[in-house]
Amino acid sequence: MAELAEEIEEKIIDAGLDKGAERLTKDKIEKVVNAVLENETGARLKMYVETCVHCGLCSEGCHIYLSRNRDPKLSPAGKVKRTMWEILKKKGKVTPEFIREASEIASTECNTCKRCAMYCPFGIDVAYIMLVVRRMCHKLGVTPLYIQDTAHSHSVTMNQMWIKEDEWIDTLQWQEEDARELIPDLRIPLEKEGADIMYSVIAPEPKFQPILLYYAAVIMNTAGLDWTMPATPGWDNSDMAMFTGDNEIMGRTKRVHFETAARLKVKKIVMGECGHAFRSVYDMGNRWLGWKMPPIPVIHAIEFYYDLLKAGKIKVHEKYKKSVTLHDPCNVARGRGLHDKARYVINELCENFIEMYPNREHNYCCNAGGGVINCGPPFKNKRVKGNKIKAEQIADTGAEILITPCHNCHSGMEDIISYYNIDMHTKFICEIMYEVMEKPE
């Protein structure tokens, strides 16, 4: 009778996964899986699988495991068991149904947040193993529909949101017009060769939140910075192809992005508050293209704001009064160590900062990143259920405002705030900065 106490999992219908699996044969699977293993993996995968002693200590590192009643199937090693162990044991001779399931597991039950690597005594990188599984499934054409469509957008338009070239320029000019009502001589310089900074954004910004471009323009103008934005494709720093295992498109989009910055002869790229784009430029995209580190320095918004505040280029008119707490995004804290700079910025801008626990590198993932929220509506319920521990964590702070300096985290947090009925609002750092900063009159 114990089965009744467990949730009955409904099978999620996803055309990408289902139709993709229908096209497979066992022969094709064996061929492709072994090709990936032979040509694209080496010591890392072998050693991770051989060194894991099945101790289960990684379990408590995973927010999904903790949120779903500590279901062993959802511990990091449990997810590897359900995917890679089976693939290796059967030497690639797995069924289409297995691949469909493995793709769902790797794409929607893991955010590749790497928290588990901090909990495993051997530092085994389960996120890497999940990405290898995604790569195999990508090569077999079995990827969740929504995120595959996003990868197609990258391929066709070099941006994540099917934004056409003229739509991009129109959006910038629209925000420039709006901002000129506040600061009459403000410009968003397009295609300015030799500027210090190229500001780069993720495609959802012009598509859904153009006001973030407005804020950026006001901040740049107030700080008196020499900046520009490209008018050509290559303005988007985001990278969903990285998360579907489509490394080739990841490489193409990153190359276009860096080449655009090189064409504009800028000294550095400053990017908005995004997490995964950051990982794409300093970790995965640059490596695929053969660069140890990004060829042109890329500064995340948090570090950018830190520098501006420290140098006094942006001054605070009156500190933000509402109580705030900070969600440390994986790719920014665990991923780039910007957690302390973020706290400096927030303490400069806000009066009442409340910490959540655990925090910094140990913060729980938002469950939206790593491509999971990009798998779209079919997986939303699963996603918010897998983030219960996050909901408890943020509610515990009692803060009114949740600062999330990452677009995916922002969306993920909004979903759980609504699902779990938490009385909080999410904000980006730039929203608060815009509100409290001294602006030119």
């Binding site: 040509n39 085994i124 665990r334």
Partner: protein, 222 residues
């Protein structure tokens, strides 16, 4: 010569050579194979490896309670550190083994007092039993377990159990000592080819993650 002497000569002579050859040769082979694979497909690993950050990570994980996850599991931490310490030190510094090394190679080194060696041996055996209980009773561990996990526990426990029983001359000493030597040989030979290789590989995986977290991610991995 009676059968016991024959078997004893075999297992404590040629078979020991085989055991160490397979253990040391096999381990070298595994590490060599690792470098071959890295050189062939993952040279970026060299780009990011850093001695400083490797050591930083290793040191944190090799000290009990120096990481968040060790602190979250205090009982397991105590058991596993005690187990592994006794596992490595006892066979190396046991008087009975030191006598054999002296006879074979004319080398001598410090040895454990016998009563301490007894306690440490029991620690290893009890550790294996506790690991077994853990594996059977904790859901997330049981889910990951299969026959090989239990066999490995037996492979590790048996040399220590039979050694303890032989030393204390419980039951037939001659049978027990043969079992001890053979089970020890089995353990040595299976190390390079099973998950017991974690004794070597864990250093490399930890060093790599420490380097990534320290060098690229500017974050702590403990």
């Amino acid at each position: 010569m009676d059968i016991f002497n024959l078997i004893y000569q075999l297992v404590s002579g040629p078979l020991v050579w085989v055991a160490f050859f397979v253990f040391i040769g096999g381990s070298i082979f595994k590490v060599f194979q690792m470098f071959l694979l890295i050189n062939k497909k993952e040279k970026y690993i060299y780009t990011y490896m850093s001695l400083k950050y490797s050591l930083r990570s290793i040191i944190h994980w090799i000290i009990p309670f120096a990481t968040v996850n060790w602190r979250r599991h205090p009982v397991l931490t105590i058991i596993t550190f005690a187990f592994h310490t006794c596992l490595l030190i006892t066979p190396t510094f046991l008087l009975a083994h030191a006598v054999l090394w002296k006879k074979a190679w004319n080398v001598r080194w410090w040895t454990l007092p016998e009563s301490l060696a007894d306690v440490m041996t029991l620690m290893v055996i009890i550790g294996c039993v506790l690991f077994l209980i853990r594996r059977l009773t904790i859901k997330e561990v049981r889910y990951l377990s299969s026959a090989s996990d239990y066999v490995l526990l037996a492979i590790v426990a048996t040399p220590f159990l039979t050694g303890f029983l032989a030393y204390h001359q419980v039951s037939n000493y001659r049978v027990m000592i043969i079992l001890h030597i053979v089970s020890g040989i089995i353990m040595l030979m299976t190390i390079p080819f099973t998950r017991l290789i974690h004794m070597l590989f864990s250093v490399f995986t930890r060093a790599y993650m420490g380097s990534e977290f320290g060098n690229v991610r500017h974050a702590k991995d403990w």
